[in-house]
């Protein structure tokens, strides 16, 4: 043997055996890509959370961690504020989920199982509220339900006055826990509706018919047959909505803070950003506590989803669900959708446009019309920071969409098609975990990781890349679910046919799997981009002068006391989101048609 060692030996063997067989290269890629994907996912999700937990047991600052201690937990749990915050969070999340569920079930039932007029229009009206970012939704409602100048309150007071009842203020006060619940409940309807509407459509009607044959009324059938059959889907959707409410930040910030109502996310934000000096240790301890709760929630949610199969009612019998005749209530049912649309879209958009055209907010009146001006639009467009933020926001949204969906594709493929069973469960679980984590916790975990020596020398804090990575963590749960769903629909025999024809793994991926996945990939990317565009909680923690994005600028403009400029920015953002949604819809439609042809 030559002294060249292993390399010379390999070279000699290479000469003797010839080149590496193509099957080995292909097999290698089959394992390498999932391995790299798993490693990168673990780095993105697990490592920051691990550092968050470790840091919760240390004193000092993220850039200068000191001794191990329990002091952060003692500080967190030795004040009544923490327990009040726990109670507020539980009530807020549970009550808003309940409100969303009730409305979503009602709307799903009306659109899928009744003869309500304009059902397709109603379907569309349910989806539209997603276009308004949570921050702007909350801001707009401060003008609609403020106890003194809220538009709805003013109308109600005028109506009461007409009947001789004088009310000094209110009757509703948005700056309350009930105000927060009302807004979050309204915002949650679309998500729950989309989750459960399929179950309504696909339900086997024979059970209902049996109920009716036994003499039960519509009412009894609805509560004794319909709802119990749907209960697993409702529970899973409710659980998902509950996790969303737990992590919501915008409504607790805009509505909760003025009323001194703290929930988990706003309390953590407050401790990391508003305490003097900032209490990173306390926020880490609270974040770690939340992490424990969210792991339990995710575990429970996954068990629920796993059990859903037991309640399968869609059979191969080919029934069409029976359509309930609403009779004289048909138009009243549609009116309900119109009210919902007015409350969730028309009124907030109107009040935002109105506010954006006024130098100082005044309630809508004929006299105020003479004072309308485009000054706020000119002001925001002339600010250099806003021009910079618009550019940054576009970059962050596109990069987040690309990173998230590529990662989701790899993870999805590994989970659905991967040959290493051990990775599947692990990957599936860790990619779903961020779904229940508030953006502020992800942001703080990233600070703890990337401010630790030697990682602080990377200079990631304050860059666009840290935003992209943190946002990718936040949306990877959605991305992986989208890609896993799409991969499950593509039968493996297509890929096996490729293998039989002698194609390599990469060739199969490139020529068969990826083109078939493209519509799901693009619609997923559009969803991620549109959510990254408006995400506030992560940039609020990680954005600086060096990487400003639009959502943070909108929040700061609001906080600085410029409601007109906030509204002007909001109107422009909603416009951009609407254009993005329409463009995305057209693109996905064309891609699908192209594939069909």
């Amino acid at each position: 043997m030559s002294s060249g060692g292993v390399f010379s030996q390999s070279a000699a063997e290479f000469e003797k055996r010839g080149p590496i067989p193509s099957w080995l290269v292909s097999q290698g890629r089959q394992y390498l890509v999932p391995f790299l994907g798993t490693a990168f996912t673990a780095w993105l999700i697990v490592v920051p959370l691990f550092f968050l937990i470790v840091s919760s047991f240390r004193s000092g600052t993220p850039w200068h961690p000191e001794a191990f201690t329990l002091q952060n937990y003692i500080n967190a749990y030795s004040t009544s504020h923490t327990y009040v915050m726990f109670a507020n969070t539980a009530v807020f999340a549970a009550a808003s989920t309940l409100l969303s569920l009730v409305l979503a079930v009602l709307f799903a039932f009306l659109t899928e199982r009744t003869d309500m007029p304009f059902r397709n229009v109603a379907w569309g009206l349910i989806i539209v509220p997603m276009a308004i970012p949570g921050l702007l939704f909350a801001v707009s409602w401060t003008f609609l339900l403020s106890p003194h100048i809220g538009l709805f309150n003013l109308w109600l007071r005028s109506a009461a006055s007409f009947f001789g009842i004088e009310i000094a203020q209110g009757p509703f006060n948005i700056y309350s826990l009930w105000g927060m619940i009302f807004l979050d409940g309204l915002r949650g309807v679309t998500t729950i509706f989309l989750i459960i509407v399929g179950a309504f459509r696909a339900m086997d009607p024979s059970l209902e018919e049996a109920s009716r044959a036994a003499g039960a009324s519509n009412f009894t059938t609805f509560f004794r047959i319909f709802l119990p059959l749907l209960s697993p889907a409702l529970l899973a959707a409710g659980m998902y909505s509950f996790m969303n409410s737990m992590e919501s930040l915008e409504i607790p910030l805009v509505i909760g803070l003025p009323a001194r109502i703290f929930v988990f996310s706003s309390y953590i934000y407050f401790s990391a950003q508003r305490f003097v000096p900032p209490q990173y240790g306390l926020s880490a301890a609270l974040g770690a506590s939340y992490l424990l709760i969210s792991i339990l929630l995710v575990f429970w949610y996954r068990r629920l989803i796993g059990d859903v199969r037991r309640f399968a009612t869609v059979t191969g019998k080919g029934y069409r669900p029976r359509i309930l005749q609403l009779g004289k209530w048909r138009h009243a049912a549609f009116a309900l959708f119109v009210v919902y649309f007015a409350v969730t879209i028309a009124a907030p958009c109107f009040v935002l446009v109105w506010t954006s055209l006024l130098p100082v907010y005044t309630t809508p009146s004929w006299e105020a019309l003479s004072g309308l001006t485009l000054r706020n639009y000119r002001a925001v467009l002339s600010l250099r920071q806003i021009q910079e933020a618009i550019g940054n926001t576009v970059i962050v949204a596109l990069a987040t969409a690309a990173v998230t969906m590529i990662l989701s594709l790899i993870v999805g493929w590994t989970v659905v098609r991967g040959r290493i069973a051990k990775w599947r469960g692990f990957l599936d679980a860790i990619t779903f975990l961020p779904q229940s984590l508030p953006g502020v916790i992800i942001g703080i975990a990233f600070i703890f990781l990337y401010m630790q020596p030697p990682l602080n020398h990377l200079g990631l804090y304050g860059s666009l890349w840290i935003l992209v990575m943190a946002l990718a963590v936040s949306y990877v749960a959605f991305g992986t679910r989208t890609m896993m769903g799409a991969l499950t629909q593509i039968h493996q025999e297509l890929e096996e046919a490729g293998e039989v024809c002698g194609s390599s793994w990469s060739s199969i991926m490139r020529r068969i799997t990826l083109p078939l996945l493209m519509p799901a990939f693009i619609s997923g990317a559009i969803w991620v981009a549109s959510h990254a565009l408006r995400n506030l909680s992560i940039p609020l923690i990680l954005s600086t002068r060096g990487n400003p994005v639009l959502s943070v600028i909108i929040w700061h403009t609001w906080e600085d006391g410029y409601p007109g400029r906030t509204a002007a920015l909001g109107v422009m953002l909603i416009g951009a989101l609407a254009i993005l949604a329409i463009a995305g819809r057209v693109m996905v439609h064309r891609l699908s048609r192209h594939q069909e042809s």
């Binding site: 600052t61 200068h64 001194r260 003097v276 209490q279 401010m451 804090y461 906080e559 006391g561």
Partner: protein, 360 residues
């Protein structure tokens, strides 16, 4: 003897050489400061980047007067840096070696102690008390109360607080001209207050402390609505959402009134809390320490005239200031250096009395 003589000569020579800088220092310190600033600006092509907490409409009319006084400053790019949160982020960035891009910047009062602790402020080259002796006559003198006894900063503005109200909502005779007026049960749930209180001067001054603590408790019991930011609070009053805002800045209110907002009125209650604001420190990364000092000194003396005229931030004891007639005869509580050192304690106390979470 010869050895002693040699030693004496050596000692005298050493003293002569080492005392040169001291002697130079004892020359006209102001001229040296200007020369230092000129040299700094030459290296930067005459351009300065500045970030203060004043809105653009306050800063833009003032800064050209500074340029006019020192023509070697050819351009000032101004950015408003308000609230406290950005300074927490700057601190984090600074710890990874990335510093703010500003040549001259203020740091929110909440973070000044931490920046000092982290070594992000350095002592200026010239002591402000010494510098005071060499200022041009027409500039006047720096008020001693604005100079940090430890020598790090110079306070340049007088931020005095009073109460604002919406005259269309507050009946005559019920205007909040006293502190107790904010606690009137008729305003329960209708008083809006900036949670970034800045009443440290009242909390610190033994003459006003007990009364202030009681007032804060009363404010909480009166269901005060807490918002963040002076302009936010005043917008809510101007729009009619709330009738009264307690403890708001004179300068923010009068800027809005001068911009044509007719639904705002203002009065100082007795005592007047005064924060010596826009404290200019020399950041450790500064490329223009002399210019920073020059700007601070100019602002605290010659620039005060423009500061008062355009930014309403003159000291209330200055008879030339617009607020002087309103403040005359009222007790002014000042947050001095000792008070500033206890800032974190007062912040915590303020938050706890209002029922909002605070740092341990």
């Amino acid at each position: 003897m010869r050895t002693n003589f040699r030693l004496a000569v050596a000692a005298v020579t050493f003293l002569v050489f080492t005392s040169q800088p001291v002697l130079a220092q004892k020359g006209n310190l102001f001229n040296q400061l200007v020369d230092g600033s000129r040299a700094e600006l030459e290296k930067k092509g005459g351009k300065l980047k500045m970030a203060l907490d004043w809105p653009e409409e306050d800063a833009k009319p003032v800064l050209p007067h500074f340029q006019k006084a020192f023509p070697f400053i050819k351009q000032i790019d101004y950015v408003r840096e308000t609230r406290s949160e950005p300074f927490g982020r700057y601190l984090v960035s600074a710890k990874q070696g990335v510093y703010p891009e500003y040549d001259i910047m203020h740091v929110a009062s909440e973070f000044q102690a931490q920046y000092l602790k982290e070594g992000l402020f350095v002592k200026p080259r010239f002591d402000y008390k010494e510098l005071n002796k060499f200022l041009p006559k027409e500039w006047g003198k720096i008020d001693d109360r604005a100079i940090d006894p430890k020598g790090y900063f110079l306070g340049t503005t007088g931020n005095a607080r009073g109460h604002a109200w919406n005259p269309t909502l507050v009946p005559k005779g019920k205007e909040p001209t006293t502190w107790e007026a904010c606690l009137d049960p008729m305003w329960k749930g209708k008083v809006v207050y900036d949670s970034r209180g800045k009443l440290e001067s009242l909390q610190h001054d033994p003459k006003t402390r007990e009364r202030t603590l009681k007032w804060l408790r009363g404010l909480r019991d009166n269901n005060v609505v807490l918002l963040r930011g002076q302009a936010t609070v005043l917008q809510k009053v101007a729009s009619g959402e709330f009738p009264i805002a307690c403890a708001v800045n004179y300068h923010t209110t009068f800027r809005m009134i001068d911009q044509g907002v007719k639904t705002l009125a203002f009065a100082f209650a007795d005592p007047i809390p005064l924060e010596i604001g826009t404290r200019l420190y020399i950041p450790s990364w500064s490329q223009v320490p002399a210019t920073t000092q020059l700007f601070a000194v100019w602002l605290a003396t010659a620039g005060g005239e423009f500061l008062e005229k355009h930014a309403y931030r003159g000291f209330p004891w200055d008879p030339k200031s617009k607020k002087y007639p309103m403040a005359k005869g009222k007790y002014i509580a000042l947050c001095d250096a000792e008070c500033a050192e206890k800032w974190e304690f007062y912040e915590k106390e303020h938050a706890e009395l209002l029922g909002i979470p605070a740092a341990k």
